[in-house]
């Protein structure tokens, strides 16, 4: 379903770039709290931290569950399916690596597992004017280098 307001308000940049997306941007640094997430991506699995006691997913990862204050957490593989919660088209580059990349899309995806469980990513197969809030999407993995694989998204029907 198209959102009328989105369609009405949208600017229409000229073209769209498909993979590899946004090469040259800084990649995530290794860190003990987030290692499992990035390891999952390397295996082409989206794993999200989840409370072992109350089952609540949390992203970004953190030590305690803010819902039930439990320290018990596990890394749970999720479907990778979700929908666009919000989106923007960046037309103004603020990083040297982006000079030739704009315009590019930036989306916040809400995963189907839990309301409010969102992550930041890009849609790799959409022109700007095709993106809308509520658009179904699923994860795809892009190997940036041997250490880092990033989760991007593509549309689904």
């Amino acid at each position: 379903m198209w959102c009328d307001w989105c369609a009405h308000e949208r600017a229409h940049p000229k073209e769209v770039k498909i993979m590899p997306y946004l090469a040259g941007l800084p990649v995530p640094e290794s860190h003990v709290d987030y290692e499992e997430f990035w390891q999952g991506c390397r295996r082409h699995e989206l794993v999200i931290q989840r409370c072992k006691d109350c089952g609540w997913y949390r992203h970004y990862p953190r030590p305690l569950c803010p819902k039930c204050y439990s320290w018990n957490a596990e890394w749970s593989k999720v479907s990778g399916k979700g929908k666009v919660w919000s989106w923007t088209i960046i037309t103004h580059p603020i990083h040297p690596a982006l000079d030739d990349m704009v315009p590019y899309n930036l989306v916040e995806i809400e995963l189907i597992e839990q309301e409010g469980l969102r992550l930041i990513s890009n849609l790799i197969d959409c022109k700007p004017e095709e993106i809308y809030i509520g658009m179904p999407a699923e994860v795809v993995f892009e190997e940036v280098n041997p250490e880092i694989t990033l989760p991007r998204f593509k549309r689904t029907s």
């Binding site: 307001w5 946004l22 992203h59 919000s86 923007t88 992550l119 809030i133």
Partner: protein, 381 residues
């Protein structure tokens, strides 16, 4: 129960010129604003015994204290979160005075935001590693965060870019009366706003703040002591800070009712014993127009989702609007001093010295940035 209501006052304000390239360091600008504020209060430099800085600051209390020739200063603290933190600095100053650790505290903010003349030094604080979840995807500029929230607001409530534009146009109109505003000489219509280039859809250039060089400062002391000073004291009815779990760190979710700004507003109105209708003039941190609109909703000036229609039709425009907003031009058109300019303008309104003076303004409200830990003030004449 202990309360700080009406016990403290802003007795001096000072600021530099706001410009795109000052040619002066952040330290220089800070000292200009601070000395101006102290002189405005009719105090001597050595009467100052507390210094409240702001994050991120490259001008520290020891350097300020040394330059002012203070042999001993017994109170210094920093607030958090640039745009959210400035009013909170006054709260910390009040806590310090109330604890008997200082009598007159200077709060300040100084920026080479436009010229970038002062380079960042070294910080022992590790960069937040959560950036790994945003940066590789091109979520870099604050505008992009605001854009995602704005798009969601439009989707949910039918808000339009023209409604965002109404805020930008109001601020510009106010700036056109303020010779210290960077956009003083440049008028703007809603059509200009609509024609301005897209930065991060749906944010256009004129939805975004103006980076500036400049500094601002104020002096806080007890209401008792304020009586003997040079200026008409501006009484602090309420001061507060707020930070709540946002559960997903990425962008402000405009549909969530319980957030930092609503929590802040509840505290402020309850401490002051006022309701939104009592506010004569409003100063809201305005880095991006959609966030101003959301803050207005969260503070209870209108219902959730009604921010768009609320800001239309001149309601926030001086002189005839019922709730004049950012009457100096704000970050959008005066220049971004991280919201310290909003504090200065609120004081000017209550002294009756604003360039867009609201007639008989008695109560002014200042609200820091939304979407981050924030802070605010309610002031009265």
């Amino acid at each position: 129960m202990a309360t700080i209501k009406d016990k403290y006052a802003i007795v001096g304000i000072g600021h530099t010129d706001y410009s795109l390239n000052s040619g002066r360091s952040e330290l220089h600008l800070a000292l200009e604003a601070i000395t101006a504020a102290i002189e405005d209060a009719g105090l001597g430099f050595k009467d100052i015994d507390g210094i409240v800085g702001d994050h991120p600051s490259r001008v520290d209390a020891m350097t300020i204290g040394s330059a002012l020739g203070l042999r001993d200063f017994g109170f210094f603290i920093e607030t958090d979160f640039a745009g959210g933190g400035v009013p909170g600095g006054l709260l910390h100053a009040i806590a310090g005075i109330e604890a008997g650790r200082a009598t007159s505290v200077v709060c300040y903010k100084s920026l080479n935001g436009s010229s970038k003349l002062t380079l960042p030094g070294f910080s022992f604080a590790a960069e937040p590693h959560e950036l790994g979840f945003t940066r590789p995807f091109g979520l870099l500029a604050p505008a992009a965060y605001a854009a995602l929230a704005a798009r969601r607001h439009m989707h949910q409530y039918g808000t339009t870019s023209r409604q965002f534009g109404a805020i930008a146009v109001a601020c510009r109109k106010h700036a056109n009366r303020n010779p210290n505003a960077i956009m003083y000489g440049e008028s703007m219509t809603i059509e200009d706003h609509q024609d301005s280039k897209m930065i991060a859809d749906p944010l256009r250039l004129y939805d975004c703040y103006v980076e500036a060089d400049g500094a601002a400062a104020c002096v806080v002391t007890s209401a008792e002591r304020a009586k003997d000073l040079r200026q008409w004291p501006v009484c602090i009815m309420a001061a507060g800070q707020a930070c709540v779990p946002c559960l997903s760190r990425w962008t402000k979710d405009p549909t969530v009712n319980e957030n930092e700004t609503s929590y802040l507003a509840r505290q402020l109105f309850s401490m002051a014993g006022l309701v939104p209708a009592d506010v004569d003039v409003l100063q809201v941190y305005d880095d991006f127009t959609p966030l101003v609109l959301m803050a207005i909703e969260d503070m209870g000036f209108c219902s959730k989702g009604e921010g768009g229609p609320f800001v239309e039709g001149g309601r926030v425009v001086w002189p005839d609007g019922k709730l004049p907003l950012n009457t100096s031009g704000g970050n959008l058109s005066e220049g971004c001093i991280d919201g310290f300019n909003h504090v200065i303008e609120a004081v000017k309104q209550l002294r009756g010295t604003s360039t867009a003076q609201v007639k008989d303004a008695e109560v002014a409200m200042v609200c820091g940035a939304t979407g981050v830990p924030t802070s605010g003030l309610i002031l009265r004449r």
